[in-house]
């Protein structure tokens, strides 16, 4: 495959983790349902600034951008999100344990 043998300039392909696939699915489904446009996602990602590209992975930027757009679309509130994230953290230390069903 292209690019992989050369100076590590271009990263390798890898399978996506389940949480990453879910982020992708949330992005496609919510935009299909009209909650935001791809331009809205891009705007959110570009607003994160250069540092986000150094410190966050691809789907980390996407989940943040989808979340911001959904809050702007009044799908849920920031308070609801924060409260739920606290509950989830209390369920267990790993993604598998914290995912409720």
């Amino acid at each position: 495959m292209g690019g992989q043998q050369t100076d590590a300039e271009l990263p390798e392909d890898h399978d996506f983790a389940l949480w990453e696939k879910r982020v992708d699915a949330l992005m496609v489904l919510c935009s299909t349902k009209g909650y935001f446009t791809v331009d809205g996602l891009r705007r959110a990602i570009e607003d994160m600034g250069e540092e986000a590209f150094e410190t966050m992975s691809y789907y980390e930027r996407w989940v943040a951008a989808v979340n911001q757009n959904m809050i702007e679309a009044d799908a849920y509130t920031l308070a609801e999100l924060g409260e739920r994230m606290e509950q989830i953290k209390a369920r267990g230390p790993t993604y598998g344990e914290a995912t409720d069903g």
Binding site: M1, G2, G3, Q4, T6, D7, E9, L10, P11, E12, D13, H14, D15, F16, A17, L18, W19, E20, K21, R22, D24, A25, L26, V28, L29, C30, T32, K33, Y35, T37, V38, D39, R42, I45, E46, F53, M56, Y58, Y59, E60, V63, A64, V66, N67, M70, A75, Y76, E80, L81, R84, M85, I88, K89, P93, T94, Y95, G96, A98, T99, D100
Partner: protein, 218 residues
């Protein structure tokens, strides 16, 4: 690999001591962003904006898309001149004709000829003809590819093992959110009389991005 590195050094490069990229899995400590994903999914489900079945079906659909879909389109264009005309006129409609779900996006097919070679990129993010090729490879999303392929395309193509003759015109096409490109590579010589199925086996993902060419027969 030498084995005298510091762990931090590996970590900085995202590589394990055996030289493999770290992979996130369900049994690693929960991250802030994973927590956000779970919270979003639960809230959207509770508010009846999404159902778990919709999310599962979307992941299934995404997993089932693969470059073979694009290869089938390319092979048909090689076999059928009328289909090729329709593909070059409107790649979305021509792909739908073959039963592929293209969604609302505008797809444009770029024909490689004896003197012109096309390459696709999304310099802003990662727009990609995912309905025909599946999810983009990591390198397509990398800043390295996105920044360099428009600046030093021949050098980037050489890294993929593709050296074009000096006189070849190279066109780099920058995708947008609503407009995606797919490269229609040139049909390899020595494939006269081949079936569409056999032709499709020569069409690689990279040849439809433009960083490669189809496999040679034999």
């Amino acid at each position: 690999m030498p084995h005298d590195h510091h762990d931090d050094d590996f970590h900085h490069h995202g590589m394990s001591p055996s030289g493999h990229p770290y992979r996130a899995d369900d049994d690693h400590p929960l991250t802030y962003w994973q927590t956000m994903e779970i919270a979003m999914r639960e809230l959207l489900t509770e508010k009846a904006i999404l159902t778990p079945a919709e999310i599962a079906a979307q992941i299934d659909a995404m997993d089932s898309r693969e470059p073979a879909n694009g290869a089938a389109v390319v092979a048909r264009a090689w076999m059928d001149p009328e289909f090729k005309s329709r593909l070059l006129a409107n790649a979305s409609d021509a792909s739908r004709e073959m039963g592929f779900d293209i969604g609302p996006m505008h797809l444009i097919a770029l024909e490689n000829t004896a003197d012109t070679h096309n390459v696709i990129v999304c310099t802003l993010c990662s727009c990609y003809p995912r309905n025909l090729l599946g999810l983009p490879p990591d390198w397509y999303k990398s800043r390295s590819y996105r920044s360099r392929v428009v600046k030093e395309p021949r050098k980037v193509l050489a890294e993929f093992g593709l050296s074009l003759p000096k006189g070849t015109t190279l066109r780099i096409h920058d995708s947008t959110a609503d407009m995606r490109y797919i490269v229609l590579p040139a049909r390899p010589k020595g494939t006269d009389g081949w079936s569409a199925e056999d032709l499709a086996t020569l069409v690689t993902r990279d040849s439809m991005i433009g960083v490669g060419v189809p496999k040679s027969p034999s």
